[in-house]
Amino acid sequence: MKYTYWLACMPFGSEKKRMLVGDYFSAKAVYETKKEELERLSYLNECDVKALTDLGCKKKYIEDYEKIKEQDIVFCPYTSVEYPSRLRNIYNPPFALFYKGKLPKEEGIKIAVVGARVCSAYGQKISEQIGEAFGKIGIDVISGMARGVDSAAHYGALKGNGKTFAVLGCGVDIVYPRQNRELYNRILENGAVISEYAPGTPAQPIFFPLRNRIISGLSDVVIVTEAKRKSGSLITADLAMDQGREVFCVPGRVGDSLSEGTNDLIHQGAGIITSFEQLMNDLNLTYKPEKNGVYNIGGLSKDEVTLYKALDEYPKSLDNILDDSNLTISTVFEVISSLMSKGLIKETFKNNYVRC
């Protein structure tokens, strides 16, 4: 097993690792193979051979195999019974998984929620609501723990007391982005962080598109909430379609750059989310809609209603609010304060407001 661990930690693709094991029948045999012989293999390049024959590396990873247990990191190779069957069936499945926490159960449907890192307040809200809705009915939510949509989806699932799983583009013992430390800890308690990269591997840009295949591979349905035309989330959506997963998108306004990607996917034939009921119906899930998203704006003063109407889902600066609402500046201060304390609006950036 420790030799498999060593092989899994090698810095090249899963495919090559599987071919090596295929050729030599065990990781141990690969471990003991001489350099000259490895050099003869056509699918290995110089760097790969160098890594495979590096004695320091060999020693380190064999020792590490014992150490990771102390850090509660579980090593799960392709051959293990625990290895998720959904992953087994995709193109180029990871040679092994490292994870902290508990892997998702095989039964039940799994949802992946992905989207832009720099997302709008609306995108954040809707991702969180989707996460929460699935969390509440006990459906696992899978995402990438990136900033923006990913984090919102995880938080939503946690809010709905559901299980949530984060597939990382770095070692499972590394929190990236750093601000997500709290989220990371909560995910450990209610799900798992999963990665195909060895513990201690720092995040690298090329890892992220690769880990997207695991996000879609682990799930049955992929939901894209917000994506620009050239977004990593679209890679996930493409992979999901290749893997035969269903893709649903949250539609956006025409002209919003953050919705161009999702609208495009819908145009290509992806599912559209018009309401949570519709989404749940499409997925054959039972879902009791709660009174959510509709605010009782009764009981507000006239000025409060005027101001609330001047706002929408898109951040508006104080000066634009002043122009649109025709209220005096002192009234606007007063009314925004009271609406904020009532939780009806929120500040997304310094002096910019949106409806909650």
Binding site: R147, S257, L258, D319, N320, D323, I329, E334, K350, N352
Partner: protein
């Protein structure tokens, strides 16, 4: 024969009197000058010799020694040509010695004997008056500037021959040399910026007014072209008028720096300085290895120091502002000595919200959240602590740019600002505090008392907005100013509510 004549050099923005002693005695014909001279003073020798020759006077074939006393101060500046000449002329017996007592002589000379204006006349004449000197001979080009100091007689001269003529007359017969301003006084009006030029942007304007009322430092955040610079330029126009003492001080600074454009009266307009962000630290604070020059913060004395692209300034140049902002002066120590320049300015900083400048407009902003974090994270914590008011200037849409209603004029706003500053003057009588912005946190409770209800309100705000102790105090200070603007004795809930809008930028806006 021995003679002495008074002159002056600049030391910082003040002046020091220097006695120029001349001795002409038998010996080898040399012209020697001693007394810790910089090269421009050493070169003076040639100018004096030639100017005298061209005025029809040749130097005697004798040993001429000129000494500048006190000898321990380095003599710099170009104002010594005239006093050296006068000293030699007395020594030669061309000028009567007794007529040259109690006279301060300064001025640069050209080779044909023309007297050329110099920098810092205001400061020199003021010093002469302080030391009890009764007469000054100054270059004609500096006449207006010198006339701003009353109680001392100044004789502006244009040519060396005039000096000889003047000093040969008795004191009571020199009236024809007095400066007469025959020309109708040209009121020198610098192009002023007025708030009525800006349409819309009500919130930012309000923020400027509040900042001016309590002398709070201001940070404007907004995309390029949203009017941050324009707004900052208008701020001097709403600050209360300067006192005469302030005017004199400011005029002296500008005279020393050679920037005194309007020499017919003291500087009455508050300055607006906007140094480019490539400025060196010395450029900001003042200094220099040979001549100590006032920096931008001193030139912005009594006015506005505007730092556009605040985050592009080097870290060190921003950090050095901290001490002058507290002390309102800058102490410069060089091996020449210690200098204190006044630096009582209001800081207005402006920055883009991100690298591309469009955040939070996500349709146009192309920045990643990491790059936004990096960009805004550059904001220095201690510096942010000194900025009480932060406001966002949004991009203007064409509609409001063209059809937007005209705002209030600066004159009207100024009236309110004056009222508010008056109230503060009353309140802080007998303390070192001058404006609400300077209330130390230890005395917040004394000056910013809240009612029970408001205390509860602030507690809620504190928790909901996740404020830091610092930003909490800042909110109280700004609320105090708002109450003063309202002429209300106590801070009311509405003041607190408004004050919350000016609080500093939070991390949470870009960390998600």
């Amino acid at each position: 024969m021995y003679s002495e004549i008074m002159s002056a050099i600049l030391e910082g923005i003040d002046s020091v009197l220097v006695r120029v002693e001349t001795d002409i005695s038998d010996g080898m014909p040399v012209f020697e000058m001693v007394g810790y001279l910089s090269s421009e003073v050493k070169e003076s020798k040639e100018r004096v010799r030639t100017a005298l020759k061209n005025s029809g006077i040749s130097l005697p074939v004798k040993r001429i020694t000129v000494n500048f006393s006190p000898a321990n101060i380095r003599k710099s500046g170009s104002g010594f040509d005239l006093p050296i000449t006068v000293g030699i002329l007395i020594g030669m017996g061309i000028l009567p010695k007794e007529n040259c007592r109690d006279v301060l002589v300064v001025g640069e000379m050209s080779l044909d004997g023309d007297v050329i204006p110099i920098n810092g006349i205001l400061s020199m004449v003021a010093k002469a008056k302080e030391e009890g000197i009764k007469h000054c001979i100054i270059p004609k080009g500096n006449a207006k500037e010198a006339s701003l100091i009353t109680g001392i007689t100044c004789y502006p001269v244009e040519h060396l021959s005039e000096v000889i003529e003047l000093l040969n007359l008795d004191e009571d017969k020199r009236d024809s040399f007095l400066y007469e301003d025959n020309k109708a006084v040209e009121e020198y009006i610098e192009k002023t910026f007025d708030f009525d030029m800006i349409s819309g942007q009500k919130f930012v304007k309000r923020a400027c007014e509040v900042a001016a009322s309590g002398m709070h430092n201001l940070l404007l955040i907004g995309p390029a072209g949203s009017g941050k610079t324009m707004m900052a330029r208008c701020i001097p126009s709403i600050l209360p008028p300067m006192t005469e003492k302030e005017q004199l001080e400011l005029s002296k600074i500008y005279s020393v720096a050679g920037l005194f454009k309007n020499r017919s009266s003291l500087m009455t307009q508050r300055p607006f300085r906007n140094p480019h962000h490539t400025i060196s630290t010395i450029g900001l604070t003042g200094g220099g290895s040979r001549d100590i020059k006032p920096g931008e913060i001193t030139l912005a004395h009594c006015g506005v120091l505007f730092l556009d692209e605040f985050l592009e300034f080097t870290k060190s140049s921003i950090e050095i502002l901290r001490q002058p902002m507290e002390d309102r002066v800058i102490n410069i120590t060089r091996n020449k000595g210690n200098y204190t320049f006044p630096a009582d300015f209001m800081l207005v900083a402006a920055t883009n919200p991100c690298k591309c400048g469009y955040f939070p407009d996500l349709n146009r902003c192309t920045c990643t959240s990491a790059s936004i974090e990096r960009y805004l994270g550059k904001m220095s914590g201690p510096m942010l602590d000194r900025i009480d008011i932060t406001a966002e200037t949004p991009q203007m849409d064409f509609e409001s740019l063209v059809n937007g209603e005209k705002g209030e004029s600066s004159k009207d706003i100024k009236k309110r600002v004056i009222t508010a500053t008056q109230i503060q003057k009353e309140r802080f009588k007998g303390t070192s505090i001058r404006f609400n912005s300077a209330i130390p946190s230890s005395r917040i409770e004394e000056f910013c008392q809240l009612s029970k209800k408001d205390e509860q309100y602030m507690k809620d705000v504190y928790e909901n907005l996740d404020l830091s102790a610092r930003s909490y105090f800042k909110i109280l200070k700004v609320a105090r100013t708002l109450a003063d603007m309202d002429e209300s004795k106590n801070i009311e809930t509405r003041h607190l509510k408004e004050s919350v809008f000016y609080r500093s930028i939070d991390k949470k806006f870009w960390e998600r």
